[in-house]
Symmetry: C2
Subunit: 213 residues, 2 copies
DNA sequence: TAGTGTGAATGTTTTCACAGCA
DNA sequence: TGCTGTGAAAACATTCACACTA
């Protein structure tokens, strides 16, 4: 199998979202053309992206929405749910826990906060726990991922504790560059990194024209 | 000036964050080597990224933290604050409004929600307003950007209203692909798009090895 | 015949080696 | 001498044209 451009993976998630929308609308046949239009890329791109993983369509006909949806979920590892804990139950942590679609991908298996006053509270049927419970929870509840929604200055310390407890991956919502062993995957999803994308148009006009045209 | 890879811009934000950290620690000289290590890229990359915009260092010596910091802020358009409104004051909207560092970049000039019961509430000294006020607010308060923290199914409708009112750019936190005229910039910062990056390691093991190795 | 699947061409980004300057 | 700045090479990603097949 050929080397897969990493950008292709991100686009697969967009295609999947579109397919789920089509399915909800009762449409069961689509084409690279239609997917391309919805995803705002070219039809070449759609076909190429899919071809890295296999052939899921019918020549001269197109794709069956349900089939392609199932294949993409399988490719993306979204055909199962993953155990996750959230560390930091401030407003961001709470918002994430309640994000629609969140529970399709993750099963919340622990909520942690260092503030003792939060420990009485409950979200989605889970009581917030002390940080002291973290190592045992990760081991005993099959928690594969940890989501960091703590302030930047405690992010590294919390990441260290997750790593020590054997976490597989970290979703980092804190504006900090984390250092972890290379076998632990870190995804920086944090808001300020998001804002770096904003820079394309906040960018000083002197350079903006070069970039956006 | 040469064509600037868009990924380079995102990295500039990381470099800026590192420089601000160095400055806070009282360090005032650095090198491409040091920046590279902190940003987890190569020193070549750092120098190349900076070279797209100019020469800010001293050969044989390195970079002055304060100088480079100022230049990066200038390049990224972060040497001024931008007017912003948030549409959708659910928990996500609230968390974003309170995000540390947020107010360094944006000045909140309006909060909107369609739910009348929210209109009595106040965040950061601003009262939540009815959607009816949106067009006038954008025109009169120099609101350049709109941040969408609404459910996916109303995202397009809200985006349309922002566009009609003359918004310059939209930060889209809703899991929806927006259609807007090309002169309006859209940044998809939404959580599910963030999760697409997660897919690199949630990815079916069959393909993961090809990608991460 | 209509629309997929893919090798080859084109375009973009990163890496590298070294020229250039304090 | 040491570290920046940059053209050129290598790696990577996208676009395209067309072979293929239901």
């Amino acid at each position: 199998m050929a080397k897969v451009p990493s950008a292709a993976i991100s686009r697969l998630v967009t295609y999947l979202r579109i397919l789920e929308d089509l399915e909800a609308r009762g449409i069961n046949r689509t084409s690279s053309e239609q997917l391309a239009e919805e995803a705002q890329v070219t039809a070449f791109q759609v076909r190429k992206d899919l071809s890295y993983f296999g052939s899921y369509g019918t020549r001269g006909v197109g794709y069956t929405v349900q089939v392609l949806r199932r294949e993409l979920r399988q490719i993306l590892g979204l055909n199962r749910r993953w155990g996750l804990c959230i560390v930091g139950m401030g407003r961001l942590g709470q918002a994430i826990a309640d994000y629609p679609g969140f529970s399709e991908i993750f099963e919340l298996r622990g909520l942690f906060d260092r503030d003792p006053s939060k420990i009485t509270t409950t979200f989605r049927g889970l009581q917030v726990e002390s940080m002291d419970n973290l190592p045992r929870a990760i081991a005993e509840r099959r928690i594969e991922f940890g989501l960091l929604a703590v302030p930047a200055d405690s992010a590294q310390a919390v990441a260290d504790r997750l790593v020590e407890s054997g976490i597989k991956g970290i979703l980092n919502f804190a504006p900090a560059v984390l250092e972890v062993p290379k076998e632990v995957a870190v995804e920086n999803v944090d808001f300020l990194t998001g804002l770096s994308r904003l820079s394309f148009f906040v960018l000083n006009p002197k350079w903006r024209e070069e970039m956006i045209g």
